[in-house]
């Protein structure tokens, strides 16, 4: 696909310099590279800065509620397995308000991709701590420093044997494109936690901060080695590993439901004879 087909939105509501601009570029490149027609993709989001994405790219879109991107995303795939489903949203949306859906989605393993724009802050609501804000960091709402231990999405996902877990950075387009493509190609629930700096409210975890720390995993790293992945998942300091951290081959839920093998549910007709027989079973 020509990358132009996904449209290019110059007028976004994002701040100049926000990492989200780079992420959108990478998403378009990734889709083009995979030759995905815009009408065959369902692009789902919640609420937050990152979650405005469906308005800025020409794909089918479902912009739902804060924290609630994952449930409709999974349902769309379960109703039309022919669609490629991609959800995008922020760290607050997915790990804060939507934490329970995050756990459930990992367990359910529907074939879809989740791109978390992780800026370690609540951007849209102007700078409160998010679940991934580091301990001790001072924010407007946490003037004495964050007291909660930060949520480590990679560690939780790997601990739960999520079928695909990757990390990337908006500042490394080539890497991010590759991660998004691998995630989309993976048959199962694929998480990409991607750093996307918030230039307005996070003055600690900046572009430079990530740039300095993010290091690609070595070529010979084996993402199917769970114990190794668990160790890598804990690294979040002077070095932060990026790449595919863990994956496995667990079959996706949609692939294991017989009725979905007949195609989208929407157009499957009412089985009147079956229903008549069913009514007989109540007599």
């Amino acid at each position: 696909m020509d990358i132009e087909v996904y449209g290019e939105y110059k007028k976004t509501a994002w701040c100049p310099g926000c990492g989200n601009h780079d992420v959108m570029k990478a998403v378009r490149q990734a889709l083009a590279g995979l030759d995905l027609a815009p009408n065959k993709v369902a692009h789902v989001s919640g609420i937050g800065q990152a979650a405005k994405a469906p308005h800025y790219i020409d794909l089918n879109g479902f912009n739902g509620l804060h924290g609630r991107g994952l449930p409709p995303a999974q349902a769309i795939k379960l109703c039309n397995p022919e669609l490629t489903v991609i959800a995008q949203s922020g760290d607050g949306c997915n790990y804060g308000e939507g934490g329970n859906h995050f756990l459930a989605a990992i367990r359910r393993n529907v074939d879809m991709t989740l791109l978390v724009h992780d800026n370690q802050i609540y951007g849209l609501t102007k700078g409160q701590a998010s679940p991934t804000t580091p301990e001790g960091q001072i924010t407007k709402s946490q003037p004495d420093g964050v007291r909660n231990a930060p949520f480590n999405p990679i560690a939780v996902a790997v601990a739960m044997k999520c079928s695909f877990v990757a990390r990337s950075f908006s500042g490394n387009t080539a890497h991010l494109v590759k991660m998004i493509q691998l995630a989309i190609q993976h048959k199962g629930f694929a998480l990409v936690d991607l750093f996307s700096p918030c230039v307005s409210f996070n003055k600690v975890n900046t572009y430079g901060w990530y740039k300095q720390r993010c290091q690609e995993l070595p070529e010979d790293y084996d993402p199917t080695d769970w114990a190794a992945a668990m160790q890598v998942a804990q690294e979040f300091g002077e070095r932060i590993p990026i790449g595919v951290i863990y994956r496995n081959d667990r079959p996706s839920l949609d692939a294991s439901l017989p009725v979905l093998q007949k195609g989208p549910l929407g157009r499957q007709p009412v089985d009147r004879d079956g229903l008549r027989a069913l009514m007989q079973s109540y007599t």
Partner: protein
């Protein structure tokens, strides 16, 4: 006798098999051609406590449970103690010979002799009941054979033997209990409770997706779709919580699949943000709200009609909705079917507001004529329309307020569903003019819904002195109470609302005004529907008659208070 027909009650602890006995007898009665109204009264526990399963049976149509017990099968002593004062004149208690009838008229059964092992006691009780009531024996035998068929001939044989012994034993005691009059109803009817009928209505409408989180008394809607609907191509997903259930359903309808969400008050409370999303996104969704008494956990296994206001106003902001309130099992089927049509035609949430009583109440219902059902609206699955690979006008401003709803993937144009105020294409806008236009557009759909609203059912006297207003499951008891009052010479009519929102006053206001006295009967403590009537019409009912102890209305209870 305070009611027509016969009221057979089986009482005991949870886990003693009273539901099994009750269901087998119900089925035998329905197969024989009787009319039944089952009501189930149970506690929020799995073993122990005290539950009852009541079958009111008659040879002519009945619409409500009864109170006084004609036959009480007491599976334990507590049942005798609790209910001996509730026996009808001439009523009998059937109980194990080892129990004490506490002075009541009783038929002590030597279950130990009749049933070789406790596991057979259910069939023994069925045999005694069948025999005493004069139920057609081959029908009961067929049922036992069918029930145990899967377990092999030996088990069938053992049970048939128990049935035979029990039947014979009881024959000697026939005098203690009048046989039922001969049945007059047709054969081939279903034994169906409200939630099963809702599931069937949804299937008939083409439901393809159901997301739910278990909650009494709504769970059995999903359970029916799982156990039986699965083979008809429905995907049922047990969600992590009700929030997910609701938001999943909106994803499903976006993808073109008809979706149902069954829940009860507390679960529904969690869905209300999603209801608002459906409102602005103009997403179809059918919500089955099965009421139980609140607030919060309240009386989790009992019945109430106190979530009308919740259904009316759930969700922030303003958007249209419709609320259907089935009164009968047939309504459960047809209104659920209609709900799917309405929700797609108006692209806004539609509720089926039921309650525990109706959810669990088995009746004899003729199989539904699928060919006679009206068609159900569909989204636009056609491939054309809209610009290729660009957003079409998902929220096109139209006179009716309804915009063509295309389905992603089925067309080359793009579908953007959005939660903000938006442009016709679904893009975020903060423009004041567009906001007004879109809000007006959405609210116009409410007018369309109002035009189609189902008029209340009018039962009994046409120009009555006393007009009883009710909604949902109260209709049956209220209608029978009206009969009782009429039998005493009063002029009584019933106005039963099976759609409680929107309302069209032209359909009912003249009749309300014409009656000398209007009493609104509701299963709640604040008279929610009476208030709604006043809000919409200014009409104030003469008084309300309310029940909110978690128990169901019976004709006797009502007649006493209206008499």
């Amino acid at each position: 006798m305070s009611h027509t027909g016969r009221n057979i009650v089986i009482g005991g602890e949870a886990g003693q098999g009273l539901v099994t006995i009750g269901q087998m007898l119900t089925r035998a009665l329905i197969r024989s051609g009787y009319e039944v109204v089952v009501s189930q009264d149970y506690m929020s526990r799995v073993r122990g406590g005290h539950n009852t399963y009541s079958i009111r049976v008659h040879d002519a149509p009945i619409a409500a449970p009864a109170e006084a017990m004609d036959v009480l099968v007491a599976l334990n002593q507590e049942t005798v103690s609790l209910h001996k004062g509730e026996m009808a004149e001439g009523g009998i208690i059937i109980l194990d010979a080892a129990l004490d009838p506490e002075g009541a008229r009783a038929v002590p059964v030597p279950f130990k002799d009749v049933a070789p092992r406790p596991i057979f006691e259910n069939v023994a009780a069925l045999g005694v009941l069948g025999s005493l009531l004069g139920v057609d024996r081959p029908t009961v035998e067929g049922l036992v054979r069918e029930t145990f068929g899967k377990k092999g001939d030996e088990v069938v044989g053992q049970n048939m033997k128990v049935l035979d012994d029990a039947w014979k034993w009881a024959e000697a005691h026939r005098a203690s209990c009048a046989a039922l009059p001969a049945p007059k109803g047709p054969k081939g009817r279903m034994m169906l409770h409200g939630n099963e009928a809702i599931a069937l209505g949804a299937l008939a409408a083409g439901v393809k997706f159901c997301s739910f989180y278990p909650m009494t008394p709504a769970t059995s809607v999903a359970q029916e779709l799982i156990s039986k609907g699965r083979k008809l191509g429905v995907v049922v997903e047990q969600a992590e919580d009700e929030i997910a259930a609701m938001n999943m359903a909106l994803g499903a309808t976006y993808a073109g699949a008809k979706a149902l969400v069954p829940t009860s008050g507390g679960g529904f409370a969690l869905m209300t943000e999603g209801v608002s999303l459906a409102g602005v996104m103009e997403a179809p969704v059918v919500i089955v709200l099965a009421q139980r008494p609140g607030p919060a956990t309240g009386l989790p296994t009992r019945t109430e009609q106190a979530d009308l206001n919740l259904a009316l106003y759930a969700g922030h902001g303003e958007f249209p909705r419709a609320i259907l309130a089935p009164a009968t099992i047939e309504d459960c089927f047809h209104l659920t079917h209609a709900a799917f049509d309405l929700t797609e035609r108006f692209q806004t949430p539609v509720f089926v507001l039921t309650d525990q009583y109706l959810s669990d109440s088995y009746r004899a219902v003729a199989p539904f004529d699928l060919d006679a059902l009206p068609p159900v609206a569909e989204p636009d699955f056609t491939p054309g329309g809209g610009p290729k690979f660009k957003r079409y006008k998902r929220y096109e401003l139209t006179e009716s307020g309804v915009s063509p709803r295309k389905v992603p993937g089925f067309t080359e144009t793009l579908v953007l569903a959005d939660c903000h105020e938006h442009t016709e294409q679904g893009n975020i806008t903060e423009d004041a003019g567009l906001r007004n236009a879109m809000n007006d557009k959405r609210l116009r759909k409410g007018e369309g819904l109002r035009k189609l609203c189902i008029p209340p059912r009018v039962i009994g006297d046409a120009k009555p002195d006393l007009l009883l207003v009710c909604w949902g499951s109260s209709e049956g008891p209220v209608a029978e109470a009206a009969d009782l009052l009429r039998a005493k010479g009063r002029s009584v009519g019933v106005m039963s609302f099976t759609q409680v929102w929107p309302l069209d006053p032209a359909q009912f206001l003249p009749a309300l005004r014409a009656a000398k006295e209007v009493v609104c009967v509701e299963g709640n403590a604040t008279g929610q529907f009476a208030r709604l009537l006043r809000q919409e019409t200014g009409f104030e009912v003469s008084r309300t008659l309310l029940r909110y102890d978690g128990r169901i209305f019976t004709p006797g209870w009502l007649a006493e208070r209206l008499g």
